[in-house]
Assembly symmetry: none
DNA sequence: GTGGTCTAGACCACA
DNA sequence: GTGGTCTAGACCACG
């Protein structure tokens, strides 16, 4: 599990970390129960401040993707799955679909792209 | 074409305006050649600062969705269509797909959701 | 709305701020739609760091008690009310009830104390 | 008397142990004079560090809920009962009452909830 | 050694 | 001028 951060991106670093952890979990690289790197270790590895990593972990914890075990360490939590995409992501998906339509993709091409994105996390 | 802005959202207002214009174009509510409201009019209608609308228009112009009219107005441009989703949106789609997977949706359900989002802009 | 912080308490400062804002809203001192002090102002007034106040506001926002208006400022949100006490607080209430019982209070005395606490926020 | 510890909770483990002992005493499951498990036994049973259990016992002793037995054991002490809720818990109760009010509960509903919490420890 | 909290600065996007 | 983000330190509670 190696993180790639783009310091020039307008996406906040803590959100980039959060996104890549989510991608890692979805891809199975991070199995439920597996331990994440410590805040300090990840901060050093990425060359960012501890608080930035801490913020990412806090967000992930709040979203239920990970849990902080009081005995030390942070582990991936076996997420139950609500069975539905959150409203926020559904709205984002609509915008992306509009972009795709205006880029000239037809419904099949877009659906294929989406399947590919889904499979990417396998 | 009525804009719905959420002042409490974390998405910047200018981006909300931009997104809704893109959605409007994709849905055919805004046809190529059609004239957009003036910055002043839209700002008043939405109750936001003119600078905010200006920023949205600048972004849309820069992305090629609209073009400055000869007489100072702004019109929807006939989109060329590159035939591919921009890298930025492809990355966002991957994250959304991961969210969907972790929410418990299988590939078919996600693809169906994507088709729906695409059709929504019809 | 004046905040009283106890720097010696083991309750984190950001949580003290959060609690007092909740108490203020419940007491009607902070009406829905009313604007909260800016992070900077409150930080200076309380003699704490901006980030500490920011953390308290973030928590309150996440809990739905306040909303950050993008046009600047933070306002009290008219909370809908779920109609039930969260599990976390229900558990805390059980512990308090046990403490009361062991302190020698009977059911009536405890209920009276609870009513008083409820009315205190009127 | 079986303890249920949540390693993912933000409440420290030693405090969870302390709280459950208090709940156990209030509920009568632990009678005055009754002997508590040894630190070592409880630590093994719960899968936590001995120091953690020791900390909980120290706190309970300091609060007067338990006393050190002559031969090294620990027994539940006959609680004197001060007749009043400690200031700390009164403050916590106020916050909970505020939460309840904002959750939409009226005074009766809250009082009923409190009686229930009190009776729960019967 | 872990995460949690806090400080005293700073820069930036947004409006 | 607002909140959001980040840094480079530090101390503390917990286990």
């Amino acid at each position: 599990m190696l993180l790639r951060l783009d310091m020039a991106s307008r996406t906040p670093i803590y959100m980039q970390i959060r996104n890549q952890v989510v991608l890692g979990i979805a891809a199975g690289e991070l199995a439920p129960g597996e331990r994440l790197p410590t805040i300090r270790a990840l901060a050093e590895q990425c060359g960012v401040n501890m608080m930035t990593v801490s913020k990412a972990y806090s967000l992930l914890r709040q979203e239920g993707y990970i849990t902080a075990d009081r005995r030390g360490g942070t582990v991936v939590s076996g997420s139950p799955g609500t069975g539905a995409l959150s409203e926020k992501y559904a709205a984002a998906l609509k915008v992306i679909a509009a972009e795709a339509r205006l880029a000239g993709l037809d419904e099949e091409e877009f659906a294929s792209l989406c399947r590919q994105a889904y499979k990417g996390g396998a």
